[in-house]
Symmetry: C2
């Protein structure tokens, strides 16, 4: 099967909102009048961002999810995306699963694949996603203010909305994806059932798109957690020229995480990577509004600290003692 | 140097038109009221789309040029682009040259890099480019009509505008990039001076952005020549449900090309790839308007055939004899 047949078979579907979709030199879309367009690009490389044993369907999901997570962090409503895919050979089993996972998530968010490129090469996936946000409403990294509360999203436990981490046992949470990675690296072992649950957090992240939009006008700054909480928070602090205090023991964690040694918990929670939760700041006066936004967004949120005028990041435990920040940054060219 | 320092040093510049540029989860742009947005993505893989010995500066140029060429084929005005870059290690010499070539071409077209992603991995470059076009004005593959003249753009010779291929000797033209590739493949040799000229056509294509916009309201269908004239023309014929007759001996060619054996000339001209010229159709009544558009676009154009209601592609020589179409399609998964 050649490049053009491949695109037609696996990725081309009737256009809905787009004026012109896959198959021309360019796609055409009609932006909604008066809206700004939010745009983000991510690239996933085999062996770097995903293991070769991941199912193609999960990979298709994740490739789009990590991009939607960027739109979520801006409070933007997703509209459309493009896909550039390089792969060693035309593997129809892979393409069938990959396109299924990719397009299922696209359907779940009401967006469409409008264009792309496929070529032979090492397995690499690059997606560019476009969304819309009203002028001035985007959540930005540089909008945090001293005095803001610092929040993080995490999955709802089964049952009613819980924002107290002590009651969210059973739900998955921050750092679980990193636990799965540590299993793959051979550093730890987990029972099969627990491994499958944390692996699902790594493979099938759910971008917090509804929460991001619900936080417009409520939150000040936001970022999605892709590289680890401490590293990502540092980007907000640097851009906003503020400092923060994070209560490490307040970080929401799953029952699986809570059963791990404290040092491993802190590594995963603070420097985990691949969480794709939203980390955001909001004025204290908006505390109730944040909880209401979380309910509209269908996720749990937990207040994990506060922002200060004094520069720097202070990690403290439940007793108020400082927690060291070793290994708390994840960088694709260092790790 | 880590990922974030790298982005800041080589790719982050003050935003101009963008509301928010490189460095947040998303970039933000304000679409021009009433315009449609044209979007295209291309991915370049080392060893597939470029040789490892290409200069980083030329590679930066080409990576953006091939995307701008897609916008040109739609008649869109470029606005902004994103870059996803995977590379084996942080190579500052590479990054310095690559970003210089990339941003110089961006400046030449008045567009800006608004976002991106860098990661470790095999050298792979994926760019998504955005442009604007008035509703209904985009040149599409499916808009060719029987009776249209078929045109191709090519570089201006030094001196006044020439549209007669016999007088354009000295200028570079169609198929020259393929000649360079054949040298790299060891199939042919060229004198050093000639090799440098055809290699420049391969490495430093000039996207026909001004021509594309000048052809709005004049041309019916257009496509950019990336995979070879015959293969790309077939896309237009299929999408438009028409046939075509191409006068092979009328195809514009450089003096270097004209000195090659006829079989090699035809391979390069008909199936060359990497030309990044515009192939377009226009009503006979617009013949003069096409020439005027070419003048505004700063390029030469040559009429190379016509479109027919009868399906299929007919290649004929100057005597009206049929020319075989062997090896006339280039597919990234076949070649």
């Amino acid at each position: 099967m050649g490049e053009f047949d491949l695109i037609a078979k696996y990725f081309k579907r009737p256009t809905r909102r787009a004026i012109l979709g896959v198959g021309d030199d360019c796609a055409l879309i009609a932006p909604t009048a008066g809206m700004h367009m939010a745009i983000s690009t991510d690239m996933l490389v085999e062996g770097r961002h995903f293991v070769s044993t991941v199912s193609p369907e999960r990979l298709g999901h994740k490739a789009l999810a990590v991009n939607l997570s960027d739109l979520a962090a801006c409070g933007a409503k997703p509209v459309a995306f493009t896909l550039a895919l390089s792969m060693p050979r035309v593997d129809t089993v892979f393409l069938d699963g990959f396109s299924r996972g990719l397009l299922a998530l696209a359907d779940a968010h009401g967006i469409e694949l409008i264009g792309g490129d496929t070529t032979a090469g090492p397995l690499t996936i690059s997606i560019t996603v476009m969304g819309e946000v009203p002028p001035g409403a985007a959540l930005r990294r540089d909008a945090a203010r001293a005095g803001d509360e610092l929040w993080v999203s995490h999955p709802l436990p089964s049952g009613p909305l819980q924002t107290d981490p002590l009651t969210s046992a059973g739900a998955m949470s921050l750092g679980d994806a990193r636990l799965a990675l540590e299993v793959f690296r051979g550093h730890i072992t987990l029972p099969g059932d627990a491994f499958e649950r944390v692996r699902q957090r790594m493979d099938v992240p759910e971008p917090r798109v509804a929460l991001g939009q619900a936080l417009r006008g409520v939150a000040h700054a936001a970022i999605d957690l892709s590289d680890g909480l401490v590293g990502d928070l540092q980007h907000v602090l640097t851009a906003s020229k503020v400092g923060a205090t994070v209560h490490v023991d307040a970080l929401p964690r799953s029952d699986i995480m809570a059963a791990q040694p404290v040092a491993l918990q802190r590594l995963c929670l603070l420097a985990g990577g691949d969480d794709y939760e939203l980390l955001f700041t909001a004025p204290v006066a908006c505390h109730a509004a944040v909880l209401a936004a979380a309910q509209r967004g269908g996720v749990a949120v937990t207040c994990i600290g506060s922002l200060d005028a004094a520069p720097g990041l202070r990690l403290v435990d439940a007793k108020g003692h400082a927690v060291a920040q070793d290994d708390a940054a994840f960088d694709h060219f260092k790790a």
